[in-house]
């Protein structure tokens, strides 16, 4: 009985719905209202299968959204409702797919998938629109002084005053970014609300198997944004060939720009993109990884290509310091590369970065090799007048000293450290212990040896062996001094310094032997000749004449010689005086005490002891204008 009653009730309800409902839609709505009163109605009111019923209603809902002219996401209630419908559709498809063999089910499923595809197309459009609109708003605020979260990645000129920044000039023409010194800035690439919207859409698209379309829409938009940001940093896209042919000063500028750009890219832009990817595709790691790779690949390659071009360029020694800049920039950014580029898609990029970094190390070693060649090649042409400091000595020593200011990096280069991150950090923090057995120390010692060998070859041009000795003294002394008060000293070690200081002394001795021993030899009193008074006085007279001429000649010659180091100059003068003066005093004394024809002989005394010493103190003044004292 109850069943009969129920059936009657249902029949009545159906009748009412059909009569009142002028359209299918209205009928459905009315039936829905009835259903909500009583569970029993839900199952039995319509002719449709439950699947068909749900689909029909979803179809209505979704079609309403799809036919809307304005973006669904311009209204949050609309978008929420749409997403809800899509979720239901996905759930239905998922639930009924296993039963697809049933003909009626499969027909409905087809309709469902059709509806899903339309929804997905729309979602893709909405996704793209959201991305474009959001980054456009960021773009606008870039041109105004984007200070808040939506702002650009770098301050404009007006904001410079507020920021504690050392940078000075700005041409004001092209908006080249000023370096952001504080890399701790968290950049919000897109407004949080939009990120959340994008994520909601992405979730559904991935669930529906439309992840490729979603990822593509995402990547295209962000890639463009990223590449534009990079181009605003003022980097040119230079080919390898162009870099080889560039003038060095132009290339230097480009390197400077590159160092700033690569830091902004790796510390700000890429992490920001990575974060955005991870948030939009939260829960879908491989989609996120793929998207990030697509976004960052082009820019990364562009940055690395430049570093590569620098790494294969000329090994002219003057380039060392800028190449070191590039090397250090990459080294310091390796941890960032490791962190962001280690998934399956990006790992190739990270490996490229490593290879190029190693190549830069090779370039640096090559530069030192070229320096060696230059030293070896430097011809012994014209002697330096006055035996002074040779330009090559000055050049090499100052160069090496400057290079050793980057000792820690150079140690790394010469030890061919290839493990990044951990070691890179260690080396950045540095360690000042002398590493005199390190590869760098060996390299430096070798350069010193080459330099000395070259100088020795050059010294042979001097016919006068005393001048040769002076030349070597000057240059050797310069070398030792430059080594002592720099990092070089730590590298080469105390023993090296001692040995080379000893060399200076040896040349000092040679100098004496080559010039003054002859003179002081004259002053020796030969006792045999002194046996007879006349013999003595004649011998003394001749000796005096000889002495005078030697002395005069030497003083004339050697006063134009150069000793650049004041201290060394004094030492030499004192040692000459010390060798000569007592002997001369003694000699003069003997002369004067020799009574025979002393007045005659005395006429031949040109120099008093004071005169002698005065002349000695005029030695090594150099010719006019080229006096010593230059360090």
């Amino acid at each position: 009985m109850a069943e009969n009653g129920e059936e009657k009730l249902i029949a009545v309800a159906r009748h009412i719905a059909k009569t009142l409902g002028h359209t299918d839609t209205m009928t459905d709505d009315i039936l829905q209202i009835f259903s909500s009163f009583d569970n029993r109605f839900r199952e039995k009111l319509t002719d449709d299968q439950p699947l068909e019923r749900s689909l029909k209603s979803l179809h209505r809902q979704i079609s309403r959204h799809l036919s809307a002219q304005h973006p669904i996401w311009s209204d949050s209630a609309d978008s929420a409702a749409f997403l809800d419908s899509v979720d239901q559709l996905l759930a239905i498809i998922h639930e009924w797919n296993p039963m697809a063999n049933d003909k009626s089910v499969s027909a409905s499923l087809d309709k469902a998938e059709d509806l899903l595809q339309q929804a997905m197309f729309r979602l893709q459009d909405e996704f793209t629109t959201l991305m474009q609109r959001a980054s456009e708003s960021v773009d606008l605020t870039r041109h105004q002084n984007g200070g808040d979260n939506l702002g650009g990645y770098y301050e404009s000129e007006e904001e410079e005053e507020e920021v504690d920044d050392d940078d000075d000039d700005d041409s004001g023409e092209i908006p080249i970014a000023h370096p952001v010194t504080d890399y701790g800035i968290l950049i919000e690439a897109l407004p949080a609300g939009i990120i959340s919207d994008l994520h909601e859409i992405a979730k559904r698209m991935v669930a529906a198997g439309y992840d490729k379309e979603c990822s593509h829409a995402y990547s295209v938009s962000r890639r463009e944004f990223l590449e534009e940001s990079l181009s605003r940093l003022g980097l040119q896209k230079l080919s390898m060939d162009q870099v080889q042919k560039m003038q060095w000063n132009e290339l230097e500028d480009e390197i400077e720009k590159w160092v700033k750009a690569v830091n902004v890219a790796l510390r700000i832009l890429f992490p920001s993109e990575r974060r955005l990817c991870d948030r939009v595709f939260f829960g879908f790691n491989s989609v996120s990884d793929l998207s990030f790779m697509e976004v960052s690949r082009g820019s990364t390659i562009q940055l690395l290509n430049f570093a590569d071009a620098v790494a294969i360029s000329s090994r002219a020694p003057e380039r060392l310091f800028k190449v070191l800049d590039v090397y250090e920039a990459l080294r310091d950014l390796m941890p960032e590369f490791e962190f962001m580029f280690s998934d399956q898609y990006c790992v190739l990029l990270r490996n490229e970065a490593l290879t190029i970094w190693r190549r830069l190390g090779e370039a640096i070693r090559g530069i030192f090799m070229e320096l060696e060649n230059l030293i070896r090649r430097d011809p012994a042409k014209t002697p330096v007048p006055g035996g002074g400091l040779h330009p090559i000595t000055r050049y090499v020593m100052n160069y090496i000293r400057a290079a050793c200011r980057s000792r820690i990096t150079l140690e790394q280069v010469f030890e061919e450290i290839i493990v990044p991150s951990a070691s890179a950090v260690d080396y950045r923090e540095g360690d000042d212990r002398a590493l005199s057995s390190s590869s760098l120390a060996v390299q430096m010692a070798w350069i010193m040896e080459l330099l000395e060998s070259n100088l020795e070859t050059k010294s042979k041009i001097y016919k006068d062996s005393a001048l040769l000795a002076v030349f070597m003294m000057n240059n050797e002394r310069y070398i030792v001094q430059k080594v002592k008060d720099s990092e070089l000293g730590l590298l080469l070690g105390d023993d090296w310094v001692r040995k080379h200081a000893a060399k200076v002394k040896q040349y000092h001795v040679n100098y004496h032997r080559s010039s003054w021993s002859k003179v002081s030899g004259v002053l020796k009193i030969d006792n045999n000749a002194m046996s007879s008074p006349t013999g003595a006085s004649r011998s003394l007279k001749e000796k005096l004449k000889l002495f005078n001429s030697y002395f005069e000649e030497i003083c004339k010659t050697q006063s134009t010689w150069i000793i650049f180091d004041e201290q060394l100059k004094e030492e030499l003068r004192i040692s000459v005086a010390g060798a000569l003066s007592p002997a001369y005093r003694n000699f003069i004394g003997r002369l004067q005490s020799n009574n025979d024809s002393s007045r005659h002989t005395e006429r031949h005394i040109k120099f008093s002891v004071e005169d002698l010493e005065a002349r000695i103190s005029e030695l090594f003044q150099g010719s006019s204008g080229s006096g010593g004292g230059r360090k």
């Binding site: 595809q117 295209v220 181009s231 060939d241 080889q244 294969i312 090799m369 090649r377």
Partner: protein, 388 residues
Amino acid sequence: MPVTDYQGASASFTNFGRSLLSMRRDQVHSMEAAHEATSQEIELEAFQKQVAERFNELSSVDSDQLLSVPWIRKLLDVFLCCQEQFRSILFNNTANLNKPPMDRYVTEYFDRSVKGLDVCNAIRDGIEQIKQWQKQLEIVLCALENQRCVGEGQFRRAKKALIDFAIGMLDEKESNTSVAHRNRSFGRNNTQNDHKSLGHFRSLSWSVSRNWSAARQLQAIGNNLVAPKNNEIAATNGLALAVFTMSYVLYFVMWALVAAIPCQDRGLQTHFYVTRQFVWAVPILSLHERILEESKKRDRRNACGLLKEIHEMEKCAHHMNELIDTVHFPITEEKDGEVKLRVHELGLVYDGLKNGLDPLERQVREVFHRIVRSRTEGLDSIGRGNHE
């Protein structure tokens, strides 16, 4: 090794030309009569022979395999082998490289090889571009493959992907026709960008500047590439010929890569002047001719790249597109069968690319690295030798 043996051997593989030894023998030197081939001469002769052999093998390919991914990979392998051999020749002859004119020839070669590096970078970008097109086909397959019965929605999805694919290729072709017409916009300050309507494909920007031209680069590589005269060859103990040979190999390989792979401002009108007197010239010139012919065919004249797989992608996509347009719902079993056939066809092309492109990219990168290494070593050894 007695001279007579070598003479016999050399005659057999230099039908068109004279071997180095026979050239030397023509120089009237009293010593020559008793001359034994030095190891250097053997090495140089072997180089000529092996370059010829390798290119002969490449040239024996069927026309349907020419410029396919596997063939390009073989080409790059050949390059690497030639390069390694050349490298060891340089290594064994360092002393001779410092004297003029060898120092100039070698430096010129390394200069050409830098331009080759740029081509490698452009090719890498080009491979990435192919991958982007391939992605659209992946979507088509995703939509149409393995479905119990393909529904209207999936067809629409496939159709959209095919349209995007076609637009992508068209965009590339148009940007290739004239540098001046390239209107790719950077920056969204241009409202209503054309590229938006084209589906954003062209925003895969090259890593080279907009002024860079593959055609010009090839011209630069081939610039002044003239065969050394016999007396030059003899005067340098054959080294001049070795350098010329390697330069030519580099030139041809780069040219073939540009012919096959999309890159900025492709132009194949560079000329190959080399007399057939050199053993390896025959296969190289033959390949050059065949590739050039391919580029002139009606359906390939505007191709983005002559790579076989690109052509296959285009054809498959075209067929699929046409087929989809003839599909009405509900779909007949016959139509469904046709679709499955086309999908299978597309799947084969796609798989071939998927398996081939990554290794190809790695190989191009390897070529890059080896060129760099050889150049660095070569320049270092010349530099060091320059003063002793």
